[in-house]
Symmetry: C2
Subunit: 116 residues, 2 copies
DNA sequence: TTTCCATGATACGGAGACGAAACAGTTAAC
DNA sequence: GTTAACTGTTTCGTCTCCGTATCATGGAAA
């Protein structure tokens, strides 16, 4: 069952959620960081720097820096792959799971108050 | 009639739309710029620098700079208010309308392909 | 008129992100 | 064992953005 959404509703939803995240002044991620975080938490592991860079169409340093920033916030964690020690496996954290979950709830809440 | 959306669908939708905008390499606005643009095109005019700054909870230079950037892209335009020449009235443009419209369609399209 | 207050724009220093290129570490090929 | 290829990271110069403070202009009040 697909989600039915009209253009005006979609735009309003984007505006409301954007407004909420800007004004909340809590953790504010850039658009790219948000997409990286969502990819890590929504798609099946394992996730690597190269894989994420390829999927998003950006360079590797972008991923490394985003992981540094989100690592400092305890939203993701990294460890070496024991099998192939060149690889870095990106792992989820408790705080990251909570953050993503709350973000999902925020969108759902905004969607619920949308006019017909 | 409110829009019904489940948390996992909402998160997937955000990821898909974010992915599309990152990879398109066309016009890429910051999160703040996007919210400003949507506010201009979704809420009834007139819009002023001060009003937008207050609504978003940011300082005035942020709005001025965003309007400069989006003005260079021909997404918005500005003119002095003839009544009170201190004010600047922010106006919509053809290109901006088209851009917002296409963005709305993108969200709707992503929503339509969402799994149950 | 002169003195305030309001508006939006600019100057400035600092912080952060970008891509290209060079880097250290690991594995594979020969 | 040496060379080559691949991983993620760092460096570099550049660019953009931020907030504070200041500026230039226009309106309102005395």
């Amino acid at each position: 069952m697909s989600v039915r959404l009209r253009p005006l509703q979609a735009l309003k939803l984007w505006q409301e959620v954007g407004l909420a995240t800007i004004r909340d002044h809590g953790v504010d991620l850039s658009a790219r960081q948000a997409v990286i975080l969502l990819t890590i938490y929504l798609e099946p592991p394992p996730h690597t720097v190269r894989g994420l860079a390829s999927k998003l169409g950006v360079t590797k340093p972008v991923i490394t820096r985003a992981l540094n920033a989100m690592g400092d916030l305890d939203l993701v964690s990294r460890r070496r792959d024991p099998q192939d020690r060149r690889n870095v496996i990106i792992q989820r954290t408790v705080r990251g799971s909570l953050f993503v979950e709350q973000f999902g709830d925020l969108i759902v809440e905004c969607a619920g108050t949308l006019p017909a």
